[in-house]
Symmetry: C2
C-alpha cells in the first residue's frame, strides 16, 4: 500500500470525441469553456487553483473592503451543468507539440486542440532584489498578504519612537499608475482617512504617506487625457503623493531608490508596474513576442502550429493595426477572444473556415474612491459620481455568481454608509505573512 | 538606521492609573474588557491575533458554509470607543509575579492587575505522531486548512484507480463526540449529499465515509441523554458512521488504529477529542490543576496571588460542588466570569469586597444539520426543527457585529434554499496547505 499521493495519471476518460484542453481559467479561458457548451467534444480545464479570480477587485480585498470569497468562484460549480467538461487541479509544465501531448503536475495527456490561456505574471523586469522584497497584486494570496502587511505594519508602528522606523512602517509605495495602482492608492487613502484614525488613536496618522509612482508622464496611460487628469486631481485631493516620470532603481525591503536619486523609506512596496506573458515551455522559440507573450494570428492560432492556440494576456495577436504589439492585457480582449475562439473551434471541427478576430473596444474605467471614478466609453467620457455608479454597475454584473453579486453589493452599500472597511484582519499564522 | 523590526518596548503609556492587563480576547477576555468600561483604569489587551474568533462556528468555515470574516471581529474596532483601552498584537511568554511584570514578544511591561484569559489548546494527550498528522479545529487557520484538505483530497481522489488510495482520500475521521465533532460530521455529510455529487460526477460518492469516533458511551456528553440519543439518530440517518466506546491508538497520516484493533485508512483525521488549558509560564507549580488549567478561587483569583486572575477555559475554579474540576470549557462560563470579574475589579479598586462567582447554567445546544438540532434548556428540552431555529437565533445574536450577523444570516438563508455551500475554495499557495 503506497501512501504516496503523487500520481502520473490525469485520469481523463477517452470519450472518442475531440479533446480540447484549456490551460487557465481566467477571463479568457472561462469565456472559451462557456462557449464550447453543446460542442461534441471533451473539454478539459487545467488550473493551479480550483476557482476563478475576479482580479479587477483584488485591490478591495487588499484594503479590507471585500471578502475573498466574494470575488472568486469554483470552476466545478461554474461548469457543473456542462456535459463532457472535466476540471483538473494541476499545473501544466511542458507542451510536446510534435506528440500533441502535455506534461502536468498530475501526469501527461494527449490533446486534439490545446488552448493556452495562462494569463500574465508580474513583471519585475529582471530586478531580483525588487522581486524578492516587493509585493505583487495578481492573486488572492497576494491580496491577503498586502492586507496582512498593511495592518501588521501599523501595529508595529505603534511600538517605536524611532522616526525612521516608524515612517518605514507607515509609508506605502505603490508603483505603477495603471488601474491597479490608482485604485489601490485611492482605497488606501480612504482607510487612512476613515478607518485608521479610529483604530489607531495612538498613531499620528498624518505621518502615513501613500506614494503612487509612475514612470510615464501620466496616470491611466490607456485612457483619455481627461481621465488621467481627473484621476490625478482626485488622488491629490485625497492626499496621495503622486510622482510622475519617476522610476524605481532598487528596493531592499526597507528603502526604495529612484532614478532621480530620491529615496523613500518603506517596508511596503506594491509592484503594479508591469506584467508579462506567462507562457509554457515547449513551443518554438520564435513563437515568443515582446513581453513574453505568444505570437498568434487573427484566429488566436500560435504561429507555426495548427492545433495550438493562445488567448488573452499571454497572446500577442498580429494583424491589428491599432495594436501592433498585441491587444491590451486586460479582461475585455481576453473575453472576446475566448468567445470567438469557441465559435472557431466549433467551425473547425465542422470543417468550416474560422473567422478572424476584431477587437471591439468598449472603453475602460477606473475608480479612485468614494463617488469618484473615470469612465471612457466609445460615445462618451465621464468623471465623478455618475462614472462611479457606472463603474460599480459594470463590475457587479461582471462578477460571477448571483450570491457573489449580492454579497459584493451589500458590502459596498455597508461601506458607503458606515465609512467602514470590515475585513481588516490579519489571517494566518501569527508569525507568518499568510 | 536599523531596519530591524524587533522591539523590546510595548510602548504603553503610563496614565498614572491602575493598569489591568488582559491576556487573550476570547469570549471571557472580551466580556471582561467590555465590563471595565468607565473604570478609572488603563486596560491593555494582548492577543496573538488582531481579531476575536467566534469559535462555535469554525466548523461552518471548515465545511465551506461561512466566510472567515463573518465569524471574526477586529479588537480595535470593538473597543474603538472605550477610553484608556490599549490593544497590543503580541504573545505573552512569561509572568514574573514577584515583579508584577510580564514578558511578551514585543517587550516587557508592569501590571497592577493581570488577567489570564488564554483559553484552551487542543489536547493530543501526549501522542506526538497523532499531533503531527491530525488536524485541529481551534483557529481560523485550522478551519481553512480543514477546508483546503477536504477539497484537495477529492481532487486527488479523482486521479487514482487504487481503491485503498482512493478510500484514504475520500474517508474522513472525526474524533470527539462533543459539539464540534457532531456539528462537523453533520456538515460534512451535507456536503457529501448536496454539494459534492454536482461537483464530482467522476467520483462514486458512496465511497465517501464520514466516521465520528467517540471514546465514551455517548455523543454530546455534557447534554441530556435525550439530546445524545437524538444526535446519534440524526447522524445515522444522515449516513455518518458513529463509533462509540472507541479510542484512537495511533495515526500516521494515512492509517488510524483504534484500541479494539480496527483500522481505517484516511488522510484526514480531525481531532476534536480534547482540550487543555493554555497557561503561561511563571506561576507557581501548585497553581496548575488537572488538564493544564489554573486553579482559581471563587473570585477567579489565582491561588496564592492577590492581583493575578484567570478565567474561562484556562481557569479551574474551586468551590462549585457541581463542578469539582472546574466549569465546562465553553463560552458561557467564560463570559459570566468575565462579566463578574469586571465588577469585582471595580469593587477592588474601590476597596469594596468582591462577590463570589456562581455559574448560571442556561443550557446547551448543538446542531446536526438542516432542520436538526438538540437544545437542553433549564426549563425545557427540545430536538428537531424548532431546536434548530433556536440554535440559529442564539448563534446569530452572539456573533459580534451587526454586519457579521447580517452576512451570516444571509449565508444561512442562501444555503438553506440553494442546498449549496459557496465557499468551497482552496485558498493559499497551490502547493501548500494554506
Amino acid at each position: 500500500m503506497n501512501p504516496d499521493l503523487i500520481t502520473t495519471r490525469t485520469r481523463i476518460a477517452d470519450l472518442g470525441k475531440p479533446r480540447i484542453i484549456v490551460i487557465g481559467g481566467g477571463f479568457g479561458g472561462l469565456e472559451l469553456v462557456k462557449g464550447l457548451k453543446n460542442l461534441k467534444a471533451q473539454v478539459v480545464l487545467f488550473d493551479k487553483y480550483n476557482h476563478h479570480t475576479f482580479q479587477p477587485l483584488l485591490y478591495q480585498v487588499a484594503t479590507s473592503g471585500l471578502e475573498t470569497s466574494s470575488i472568486v468562484f469554483p470552476f466545478r460549480k461554474r461548469f457543473a451543468q456542462q456535459a463532457d467538461f472535466y476540471f483538473r487541479l494541476g499545473e501544466v509544465n511542458q507542451i510536446k507539440p510534435e506528440e500533441n501531448y502535455i506534461e502536468t503536475s498530475i501526469g501527461g495527456i494527449h490533446y486534439d486542440y490545446l488552448i493556452i490561456a495562462t494569463g500574465a505574471a508580474t513583471n519585475f523586469y529582471g530586478m531580483e532584489e525588487l522581486e524578492k522584497n516587493a509585493m505583487a497584486m495578481k492573486t488572492i494570496t497576494d491580496a491577503i498578504k498586502v492586507r496582512n502587511r498593511i495592518i501588521r505594519n501599523l501595529e508595529f508602528a505603534l511600538l517605536t519612537d524611532d522616526k525612521a522606523v516608524m515612517n518605514s512602517l507607515m509609508d506605502f509605495v505603490i508603483v505603477g499608475g495603471g488601474p491597479t495602482g490608482v485604485e489601490l492608492a485611492g482605497a488606501l487613502s480612504e482607510l487612512k482617512r476613515n478607518v485608521f484614525p479610529k483604530d489607531y488613536t495612538e498613531l499620528d496618522l498624518s505621518q502615513m504617506d501613500i506614494h503612487l509612482v509612475e514612470a510615464g508622464p501620466r496616470l491611466l496611460n490607456g485612457m483619455s487625457a481627461k481621465a488621467s487628469e481627473k484621476a490625478l486631481e482626485y488622488l491629490k485631493k485625497m492626499g496621495v503623493k503622486v510622482h510622475l516620470n519617476l522610476a524605481v532603481k532598487s528596493y531592499n525591503g526597507y528603502e526604495v531608490a529612484f532614478n532621480n536619486g530620491e529615496k523613500i523609506l518603506t517596508r511596503t512596496l506594491v509592484w503594479a508596474a508591469g506584467v508579462k506573458g506567462n507562457p509554457i515551455h515547449g513551443l518554438r522559440e520564435e513563437c515568443l513576442a515582446k513581453g513574453n507573450r505568444i505570437k498568434v494570428d487573427q484566429f488566436n492560432r500560435v504561429k507555426g502550429y495548427e492545433n495550438i492556440f493562445a488567448l488573452g494576456d499571454v497572446a500577442a495577436m498580429e494583424g491589428d493595426s491599432k495594436f501592433p504589439n498585441g491587444h491590451p492585457m486586460m479582461a475585455p480582449p481576453a473575453m472576446q477572444q475566448g468567445a470567438l475562439l469557441a465559435q472557431n473551434l466549433k467551425r473547425t471541427i465542422a470543417s468550416k473556415p474560422m473567422k478572424p478576430f476584431a477587437y471591439k473596444d468598449k472603453g475602460s474605467m477606473a475608480t479612485v474612491g468614494r463617488n469618484k471614478a473615470v469612465v471612457d466609453m466609445k460615445t462618451f467620457k465621464m468623471q465623478g459620481l455618475i462614472a462611479w455608479y457606472i463603474w460599480m454597475f459594470v463590475h457587479l454584473i461582471s462578477i460571477i455568481g448571483f450570491r457573489n453579486k449580492v454579497f459584493t453589493f451589500f458590502s459596498w452599500v455597508w461601506s458607503y454608509f458606515s465609512y467602514d472597511r470590515s475585513n481588516r484582519l490579519i489571517i494566518g499564522r501569527p508569525k507568518e505573512e499568510i
